[in-house]
């Protein structure tokens, strides 16, 4: 399926009022339990939201950040953190049993029946999204699943459905990119001119626009602009030729050296016989 035909989100932080209705709706739909939280536990660096991080019980969350410039408080801004549903997800490429996988219409989902719990997906994800059930004996990976079950029934994802201000739009990726571009060009004063998710990690199905650079709001500022899988692909493709090449080299070496030793031995014997 064409990238732009995949289902996607557009999150516009300028429209978000931080009500966290999406957070609650997500918990309701996925029947996730509440978490014990503490005010200001994250501090200015991690944000003032509660809980501080996503977890096995929290798939999406609005982060709260003060935007400070030249020592002055400029803004109080939000970002919706969740799985970005990459077009070429690193987590899926590294999953040795193929439990984590990209579905055709967009969502990146996982199959706990296959998972062995190696947590490579957690390491590989550039957004640090997959979480782990640390307190269970047989643990599962957990993350936002794009409400794949709701989408399949033609419903909106829970967070988008509940959003009161229209900050979360749901639709085809191509159409959402057009909307984002239009907003950015119509109101260049208001928006920071970057669509996050257009190219990050090779493109994601969650697009983000905002009035401030998202690095102030918790979006990782070191995400490469191409699919991370590219870094491992070359080496993985080299394995078979390398094994055969090395086998051939070692074989020839072994033959030459052992043959030479053999000849030396027979010569020695011949010498003794004479």
């Amino acid at each position: 399926m064409n990238n732009n035909d995949q289902m996607a989100f557009l999150y516009d932080s300028t429209k978000c009022m931080g009500c966290r209705g999406c957070q609650v709706a997500c918990k309701q739909w996925h029947e996730l339990p509440a978490e014990k939280t503490r005010f200001f536990a994250g501090g200015a660096d991690s944000g003032y939201q509660n809980p501080i991080h996503l977890s096995e019980h929290t798939y999406t969350m609005i982060t709260f950040h003060e935007v400070v410039e030249d020592g002055k408080l400029m803004d109080w801004a939000f970002w919706k953190t969740q799985c970005q549903h990459c077009l070429e997800p690193a987590c899926a490429s590294v999953c040795l049993v193929g439990a984590m996988h990209k579905t055709e219409n967009g969502p990146v989902v996982w199959d706990s029946h296959k998972c062995i719990g190696c947590r490579y997906c957690m390491l590989a994800c550039p957004f640090n999204i997959p979480k782990f059930e640390w307190k269970k004996v047989i643990s599962d990976i957990r993350k936002c699943d794009f409400c794949a079950d709701r989408i399949a029934e033609g419903l909106l994802p829970a967070c988008a459905k509940t959003c009161a201000t229209g900050a979360i739009l749901f639709g085809k990726r191509g159409e959402l990119i057009e909307i984002a571009k239009e907003r950015l060009s119509k109101d260049p004063e208001k928006y920071y001119q970057h669509i996050y998710g257009l190219e990050e990690a090779g493109g994601t199905c969650v697009l983000n626009i905002s009035n401030v650079p998202l690095k102030h709001l918790g979006y990782p500022d070191n995400v490469p602009m191409e699919p991370l899988e590219k870094n491992t692909q070359i080496d993985m493709a080299a394995i078979s030729p390398a094994v055969i090449g090395l086998g051939a080299i070692l074989g020839v070496t072994a033959f030459v050296i052992n043959r030479r030793i053999e000849l030396a031995k027979t010569k020695e014997k011949g010498g003794q016989n004479e």
């Binding site: 040795l96 049993v97 439990a99 706990s112 394995i239 094994v243 072994a254 033959f255 050296i257």
Partner: protein, 416 residues
């Protein structure tokens, strides 16, 4: 003999206690889960068990591959006495890796899924199949020890005829898994030709060359694949360690630590079992080690310059550990080995060898967790329980090695 066992018992008691503690902690881990017993978090999902038990543990087994190649492929007949101990270390290392994995995996009960569900895009898939297949090859390489001990003459007879075919099938299957049926067939053809050539041109003693080549190839793949695992995190692993050539770096340091480990072990086991190794074997290994260290140091320096231009993404702590790793683990032992008085004394060589072992263990810890930076998460450091489990697993390995050596003819000369 009595004197030896007596003088050793405190050491054995410590090893048994450490292994017992680890066993109890492992049972607790399977009652309370990974969270309460370890410092692992959602930000740092991998810690000491991956860094030390698995990555360093596998590097330490590289002696098996190195010595096997030297003896069977490069004609280094004088190193045969260290071949079996090195192969045994390697095999036990692989057994321990699986033990360590069972502790670390979130769904250890489904570990066998790795065999039936295939995703050959994943470096972890490569790692996994290298473990399975190389452990099989190591078991075949060591099987004659058991045949000898139990005088299984029939098995001894058919062994040289069957084992090459098994290895040909193993390596072709491996190549097929990693790419497609075409490459698999090419591998099958190549290794079959090699076997036929050896069979009709070389004496019987070298009938095992195909088996050894298969082992070396799988081991090379495995050592570098552990570096490949970290190629997916260019933005998380500090550039002190990250480079596209990380797999090659892992391979070179594995060969270095393989040599160092054989020296280290032979010194210890000569103390424990009283089988002294001839000095010229140790000295020869040390000479090889000098060259490998020179290569490792050059490689590290060149990749660092080429890929970073000396602009690092690293914290102070990471720079400290990097320097310790490179200076104590590579440069100092290299300088020490250049001094003739040290290089020619089997006893003195023990110290630089130990430093290399330390350095490579630290390197794997550095890549495994120390060098990883995750935004907004507190940096991971292992807690005492995790360290105890690691110590226990290594103790278990040493105990296994000790008892196998006491029971089986590991330290005797013979066809391995």
């Amino acid at each position: 003999m009595n004197r030896i066992t007596k003088s050793l018992s405190p050491g054995l008691i410590i090893l048994y206690s450490l292994a017992a503690i680890a066993l109890i902690l492992t049972i607790i881990r399977f009652i309370v889960g990974l969270g309460p017993i370890s410092n692992l978090t959602d930000g740092y999902p991998w810690g000491i068990w991956i860094g030390i038990d698995i990555m360093a543990g596998i590097a330490l087994t590289a002696g098996g591959m190195t010595i096997a190649a030297v003896v069977y492929i490069f004609g280094g007949e004088k190193y045969r006495p260290v071949l079996r101990p090195a192969l045994l270390t390697a095999f036990l290392g692989y057994v321990l890796e699986i033990v360590a994995l069972m502790v670390d995996l979130g769904r250890a009960i489904q570990i066998w899924h790795a065999i039936i569900y295939w995703n050959n895009d994943s470096p972890m898939f490569l790692v996994c199949w290298c473990v399975i297949l190389y452990a099989t090859i190591l078991a075949i390489e060591l099987a004659p020890v058991i045949f000898e001990e139990f005088k299984m003459t029939r098995m001894q007879e058919i062994y040289p005829r069957i084992s090459p075919w098994v290895s040909i099938i193993v390596v072709s299957f491996f190549v097929f898994l990693m790419s497609n049926i075409l490459w698999g067939v090419i591998a099958l053809a190549l290794f079959s030709i090699l076997w036929l050539v050896f069979r009709f041109s070389l004496p019987k003693g070298t009938a095992l060359v195909v088996l050894i080549i298969t082992g070396v190839v799988l081991s090379v793949a495995h050592q570098s694949s552990l570096g490949m695992v970290f190629l997916i995190v260019p933005q998380k692993l500090s550039t002190l360690w990250y480079s596209p050539l990380l797999p090659v770096d892992f391979l070179i340091t594995a060969v270095a630590v393989g040599c160092a480990m054989v020296i280290f072990e032979s010194q210890l086991s000569s103390r424990v079992f009283g089988f002294g190794l001839e000095t010229h074997v140790i000295v020869g290994l040390a000479r090889a080690l000098i060259w490998i260290l020179a290569l490792a140091i050059t490689f590290k320096l060149v990749t660092l310059i080429v890929y970073t231009g000396f602009v690092f993404v690293a914290t102070g702590r990471q720079i400290f550990y990097y320097l310790v790793e490179v200076i104590v683990g590579l440069i100092l032992p290299f300088i020490l080995l250049l001094i003739p008085r040290i290089r020619q004394s089997a006893k003195a060589i023990f110290y630089p060898a130990t430093m290399v072992v330390f350095g490579v263990i630290l390197n794997r810890a550095n890549v495994g967790w120390i060098g990883i930076n995750i935004n907004n998460y507190q940096h991971y450091y292992p807690n005492i329980l995790e360290i105890l489990i690691t110590l226990g697993i290594f103790s278990f390995g040493i105990l296994l090695f000790y008892h196998v050596c006491k029971r089986f003819p590991v330290f005797e000369k013979g066809e391995a």
